[in-house]
Structure formats: structure tokens, C-alpha cells
Subunit: 209 residues, 2 copies
Amino acid sequence: MRIGIIGAGNVGTTLGRGWLGRGHEVVFGLRDLGAERLAKLRAAAGEGARGADPAGAAAGAEVVVVATPWGAARAAIDGAGDLAGKVLLDCTNPLRGDLGGLELGLATSGGEQLAGWAPEARVVKIFNTTGVETMADPRYPDGAAAMFYCGDDADAKRTAASLAADLGFEPIDAGPLSRARLLEPLALLWIRLAIEGGSRGLAFRLMRR
Amino acid sequence: MRIGIIGAGNVGTTLGRGWLGRGHEVVFGLRDLGAERLAKLRAAAGEGARGADPAGAAAGAEVVVVATPWGAARAAIDGAGDLAGKVLLDCTNPLRGDLGGLELGLATSGGEQLAGWAPEARVVKIFNTTGVETMADPRYPDGAAAMFYCGDDADAKRTAASLAADLGFEPIDAGPLSRARLLEPLALLWIRLAIEGGSRGLAFRLMRR
């Protein structure tokens, strides 16, 4: 397959290297293409990497990959020429510059709203990202299911984590209560995968190496 | 530990049964407590389960668990009496009744915005929920990392999934492009866990049984 990659940062070059190793043709779209830039690109992505201007990289490609920072995504699209019918892989995230949140949506969460209703309680968001079958037994062939939790009181979080561990979960500290903005979408992802995949025997695991 | 559980549905009774089995004391807060209701509760959660009115269940508990539907969460808090200093575990999700979205936030995504900029391209959101180290090699001791993707064009999604599989990922179809509203928060969760845990050797796996 011929793949055009817009964005020659870490993500673009890593994906390009992987696909080159699997026999795909990879062309990076670069606005500042010169001998030195191309040499640098090939050092990062592999000798087989080619370079072109962004529209040229997209023109002959069956798949166009947008692997830029969010702030550069609009310019990447506008500079890529005619994209009609192209398969376009969007690897971006609309992250705030401080990596503290997303630029789109996510201004509050149920967890924070609930804490507002019980302002003197020490609220921990937990047990919202999997199904009851997994709560009854979190052991999967691959290992223990993750139980993500978040809250603003360290002692309350320790208690919550120990109650998750009692059930057999691997408790994962996801930070302050505002992270419920991330754990509630994760719950909805679980729900949609269970409904659309036709099975509730699903759980997330956080793998480490 | 004494645990008060508000909400005796599937989630509340499953958690209660698990904690009773680990030697915790579990009291369910029920507004309609009678002999029949209590018998039903014990059938679901275990013979050791006790019942009280919601304020009574919370009063003596070190940990109060809110395991109601989102629409009943406010009433659960208001009926639970004095929660000052209590550890409160929030297991709710502010789901829309059709399970199609969240009642709070998440009205759009970067993926949808990007597709609006390239209206004739066939956009797939993918390669946004893990780090480049995992993109270079998605094999973990527990198995292959998941690569969630979403889009509105079935053929484009097949292409995207095959390119993820080429790298060694387990591609996971997360549905239409609007699911970027869920995959972008998942990316931010990955970022926060990597930053706060001090390691980028992290990846999500979707486990099945």
C-alpha cells in the first residue's frame, strides 16, 4: 500500500518505520524538504522513506496519515490537496498545550457534579468502567482487570483502591476527581463495545513493560 | 470495614457480594425496606447483607457507595444524611437514556472537526491512544496492545485496521467517527498516566473471556 504521512515527528516516523518494515511504500509530506531534512527523516523512519511536498505525498497515496500536533492539523489538511475518497487516518488529539485537558468539550463530569451535591464527603470515582460480570470476578486469562479511580482526597483514594483490590481488580490511580471527565467516556466506550460486540465479557487492562 | 451501598441494582449487589465474601460489613440503603425486599437483596448479595433506610445505611458506614442510575444520584445523595468526611465512592455514569452518549460534555471531537475540514476524505480516527514506543512495538508480556479506531466508512476502517495489525496491534472497532469523543479522552488518560506514573511503557488492552 502507498501511505502518505503528514507530520514527520515521533508518531509519523514511528508509524512509517513500522509500515516500511512490513513492505509498504511510505512518503512523508514535508514543506521544508531538502537533502539534510530527508537524511534526518530516513535516519528516523528508515532508508526506504521518501519525501515530497504535502500535496505530493498525499496525491499518489491510498492512505493519508495526519500525525501532526492538533494546532497544525488544519494546515495539514489544507495543504494536502485533493483528498476526495482518500482513506485519511487521524492520529491527532485536540490537547491543550499543557496536556491538562482537551480543547473540545469535557468541561465537567458526573463525578464532579456529584461531589458538588455532597461537598463535605470525600468522593472517589470508581467502579464505573466495567460490567458487573467483571466486578463479580475481575480475573481474565490475560490478568486482572484494571479499575481506574480518581479523587481529591488521598486517604479516601487509598480506601477505594483497597476495596477494588479486595474484589481482585488491579487499582489504577487516574489522578484528581476531574479525571472523571476521562473515566466516564471510558465507561461509555466499554458500553458501546459490549453492545456492538454482543458480549459483556470485556475489560480493560493497563499493560506495563 | 463497614460499607453502606445506596442502590441495590446489579452493580450495588455485585459489589456487596464481593466485599461480604472478603469479610466486610455491608449495609444497603433502601427506601422500600420490607421482609420481601430484604430476602431478595440477600438472594442477590449474600445472606450477610443488611438493609436500612438510606440515611441509616450511610450513618454508620466508613465508606458510602453510590451505585444508582445517574437520574437517581441526586436523590441518593440528598437522602443519605450527613456525609461530612465520609469516603464516597461514585460508580455512576451520566449516561443518556439510550446509552448513546453522556449527558455532560462530549458534544464533538477533534476527529469530527478534522473530517469537516476534509469532507470528501474517508476519515478514521486511530493511532491516537498510545505512545510511540508502543507503536514501534505493541507486544507486551500480557499480549498485544489494543488499537481503538472509529470512522464512518467501512472500507476505510478495514484499511486502517489492517495497517494497525501490520504493526502488531490488536485493532478494536469502536464504531462511528463520533466515537472520537471517547477515544480522545482515552488518549488524555494515557498521557496523564504516563506523566504521573513516570513511564511511557504503558498500553491499554481489551481483554475478553
